[in-house]
């Protein structure tokens, strides 16, 4: 039993060592990434791990709403890579010639969770149907992918009409979580990646919404300015090390 647990870890460590050794060819430079806010915790860790392997490469990340980044990039924002919360924005950028069409990649799929703060007495798996709930926070379905997923899930569960009047809309998924963290909203439909993040995990309880309740939320990225660092980082994110990390932080992986 012990070896079974230790073996993968040991192999991973070995791979990291070997990987580090193999990558001693210098990939240098700074990679600036515009990233969707559901990546907030996962990508910070990814940047750190990547830097550990590629000593001379540095990753700088800005988090925000994918729609905002899309507008900024169209107007010349100097990002090297864009990790969106959907695949539509990267594809649009590629179509408009702002990125190479073949550089669009899918790196993860978002998962939806019902979240209640730890001071609340609600059970996250039944909270949506609880009559004492006054406010339910979701991201804005008009432009946030998690908002669209939340709306689809509520419709799928047959709750949308009953709950529509209780909905409050966050500008992005982090702000949606803030509405619930502050106690102003009773329940929130947020990204699982936020609910399981170390900084949030201890503050509340969550229940994952079944995958068949909403259309799959594939998240795509695109390289805007081609460079060795950009290509290495993309490769790293899609390789086992990156996949493991994304999985650990509450994402589904492409092809799963």
């Amino acid at each position: 039993m012990l070896t079974r647990q230790l073996l993968p870890a040991a192999l991973a460590g070995l791979a990291a060592l070997l990987g580090g050794a193999c990558n001693s060819r210098p990939v240098t430079g700074r990679l600036s990434i515009a990233a969707a806010s559901d990546l907030q915790f996962a990508l910070a860790e990814a940047g750190k791990q990547f830097h550990r392997e590629y000593r001379h490469a540095e990753v700088a990340i800005d988090y925000g709403s994918s729609g905002n980044f899309y507008a900024q990039i169209r107007n010349g924002a100097p990002f090297d890579m864009f990790l969106s919360a959907d695949v539509q924005y990267p594809r649009l950028l590629a179509q408009q010639g702002l990125a190479r069409a073949d550089s669009v990649f899918i790196y993860a799929a978002g998962r939806l969770a019902v979240w209640v703060p730890s001071f609340s007495s609600l059970d996250p798996s039944t909270a949506l149907r609880d009559p004492t709930v006054r406010r339910i926070a979701i991201a804005n379905p008009q432009h946030a992918p998690y908002g669209r997923a939340a709306e689809a899930a509520l419709r799928h569960m047959g709750l949308y009409e009953a709950l529509e009047k209780k909905l409050v809309l966050g500008e992005n998924i982090s702000q949606t979580l803030q509405f619930v963290q502050s106690g102003a909203a009773d329940v929130g439909l947020v990204a699982l990646s936020l609910a399981v993040a170390p900084a949030v995990r201890s503050q509340g309880r969550y229940w994952e919404v079944p995958l068949d309740a909403y259309p799959k939320m594939e998240q795509g990225g695109v390289i805007l300015k081609d460079s060795a660092v950009a290509r290495e980082f993309r490769a790293w994110l899609l390789a086992p090390a990156g996949r493991r990390l994304l999985k650990q932080y509450g994402f589904y992986l492409p092809g799963e």
Partner: protein, 224 residues
């Protein structure tokens, strides 16, 4: 065009201005005439909303009026309702956010009133309140109008604070700036531009008319 949002913004701006004139005027009077040594502390507090970024201010307002705060709990007990995500909550946040825009011009114009006139009025046996009403206010009309216009305009364009405490509910907290932002986010640039142009046109008309009106007041009754 999101008429509901435009109407909501107009209502919010008008209510904010009315409350600020009612509550801000005594505060401005105190700031202008008090001789307390620690007055500068109050002046600094009044100016603070200028310093904090609107979303930061909005975040703390959200915590301060939420059901877990003493204020939010008290409000819940009294009314059975909740301040966040309601028009009342938005109004409270807007009043805080626009406080310096009313108090500063009004206090400055009160302070600019000739002390001699005020004291002469007192010496003639006119009460402080009557002096304020019949001497100070008429001489400060311009500053009061400026404060009112600035607060109104500032609330019309308010975004970060509303975003944080509003929750984007149509007809309740979805103001015109939030509506424009949503249209931009949804890549509906044409609708966003249309609403923005309307907002600019409306605001320009209101501001221009008020200025023109003010100028006439000024010429008919020259006071300084």
């Amino acid at each position: 065009m999101d008429w509901q949002a435009i109407w909501l913004s107009l209502r919010l701006s008008a209510s904010t201005t009315a409350i600020l004139l009612a509550a801000g005027t005594p505060l401005a009077y105190w700031l202008a005439f008090s001789r307390r040594r620690w007055k500068f502390l109050v002046e600094a507090v009044v100016a603070l909303p200028l310093v904090l970024p609107p979303t930061v201010l909005g975040f703390y307002v959200l915590l301060a009026i939420g059901p877990r705060s003493p204020l939010g709990a008290l409000y819940g007990k009294l009314t059975g309702g909740m301040l966040p995500f309601s028009f009342q909550g938005l109004l409270l946040a807007s009043v805080l956010y626009s406080l310096p825009f009313t108090v500063q011009p009004v206090a400055a114009s009160f302070a600019a009133v000739d002390r001699g006139l005020v004291e002469a009025s007192w010496c003639l046996g006119v009460s402080r309140f009557a002096t304020f009403r019949r001497v100070v206010v008429p001489l400060s009309l311009r500053g009061i109008a400026t404060g009112a216009i600035l607060s109104f305009a500032h609330t019309m364009g308010e975004f970060g604070v509303v975003l944080m405490v509003g929750g984007n509910i149509p007809g309740v907290t979805r103001t015109v700036s939030i509506s424009i932002y949503d249209q931009v986010q949804a890549l509906d640039y044409a609708a966003a531009t249309q609403t923005s142009l309307f907002l600019l046109g409306l605001s320009f008309t209101v501001l221009a008319l008020t200025s023109a009106f003010q100028r006439r007041v000024w010429n008919v009754w020259p006071m300084n």
